[in-house]
Symmetry: C2
Amino acid sequence: VVRIEHVFKDYQLGEQTVQALHDITWSIEAGVFLAISGPSGSGKTTLLNLIGCIDKPTRGKIFINGDDVSDMSPNDLADLRSRSIGFIFQTFNLLPVLSAAENVEYPLLRRTDISPEERKKRVAYFLDMVGLSKFADNRPNQLSGGQRQRVAIARALAIKPSIVLADEPTANLDKATGREILSLMKQINRRLKTTFIFSTHDQKVIDRADRLVQMEDGYITAFGVRNES
Amino acid sequence: VVRIEHVFKDYQLGEQTVQALHDITWSIEAGVFLAISGPSGSGKTTLLNLIGCIDKPTRGKIFINGDDVSDMSPNDLADLRSRSIGFIFQTFNLLPVLSAAENVEYPLLRRTDISPEERKKRVAYFLDMVGLSKFADNRPNQLSGGQRQRVAIARALAIKPSIVLADEPTANLDKATGREILSLMKQINRRLKTTFIFSTHDQKVIDRADRLVQMEDGYITAFGVRNES
Ligand SMILES: Nc1ncnc2c1ncn2[C@@H]1O[C@H](COP(=O)(O)OP(=O)(O)OP(=O)(O)O)[C@@H](O)[C@H]1O
Ligand SMILES: Nc1ncnc2c1ncn2[C@@H]1O[C@H](COP(=O)(O)OP(=O)(O)OP(=O)(O)O)[C@@H](O)[C@H]1O
Ligand SMILES: [Mg+2]
Ligand SMILES: [Mg+2]
């Protein structure tokens, strides 16, 4: 469902060029529960941003569902993201003037195929799934760190995308809440065959993944497959 | 070093009053390594903000080094914070237009007792301690999540404060980096007798704490003391 071919990502820093990703080549099968781990600064977020089409590689190609994303217009990419890719950002990126419910609803507004009633139903359902029904009207600055993270999670899941990109989705959650969220995602993965791609430092997530990738200094250093029941 | 007496914190949410903290009474001895744990939304950040004097209780009193902070002017509080309290925020709160080094230096600019040479020395020293010497000139948007977290940590430690308030300082760090940062803080705690107060979901931090507090729904539900070598 995701194919990455000889992808490089460079950043300019003053006069220097920083190589954040080197020669990444990789295929991700549909329906996997994949964890990318690696030290701070190793390139996990950079890679997720390229797969999520919110950034472009310096070299190389990325294919989502078989389509070359470098051929797509900004409008096509925005459509792709609102239909197929749910992104849970490391820094949440909630809209401060909107309530929790409005934040969850926001990406659905673009979807002409979803009725207003269906939209409201999904918002209520996913806020409930992450334990935040009582906080639907709170704005982000009226929420704790872990509550904001859960709004970001509900927002990505409510799209019912084919691919969920989750950048450290449990970093700000206590163990019990983290386990609940992980089980929710596993359920969705099993029932709807949604592909989950995590960047994570959390051993709980790594333990429940069926594919593992290790990164270091912008390289992929190991691939692992686990046969899970 | 910190005394909290019958502290309550309420928030207005539309017509409702949300009680985020109930009747917190607690004394924290100088030089402890204290971890506050509890579910997402239980009030940890709220409590840290009150101890750090960046918020005021709705009722009750807070004493820092014996002084009642409700008597202090905004200027006195700002001085107190720039001298005695290092705060590592859950959302880092770095200044986007400044480099990593400038962000670490920022609270020191207010300190007329520290020479420019001493300031530069401290910035270099603490950036090195958190493994970011090579990233001194990067701005926050040119840093990974864990790198930003480490800049926030260096910024708080460079003040050499008597109290460090750390709101989930390892949430975005891989295990190895998290352990290094924790050992650094333990060293500072032992050598300089700095008081460390953590809000955390990380078992590694809890395991190295000599005082533990559990919170739930705005109440303290348990206190623990560990006799550590
Ligand atoms: N705009 C930029 N300019 C220069 N360097 C950058 C920029 N963005 C990221 N980097 C560098 O790219 C490297 C990879 O960053 P990335 O955010 O992908 O790391 P990460 O694996 O997600 O780390 P963490 O676990 O800390 O979140 C880092 O060393 C970072 O300093
Ligand atoms: N400005 C506000 N208005 C209304 N409610 C608020 C406001 N700020 C915080 N709250 C509520 O106060 C409670 C405690 O929040 P706090 O940020 O202290 O939790 P926390 O223990 O730090 O959680 P986490 O582990 O998720 O970071 C939460 O339920 C939150 O929704
Ligand atoms: Mg990252
Ligand atoms: Mg918090």
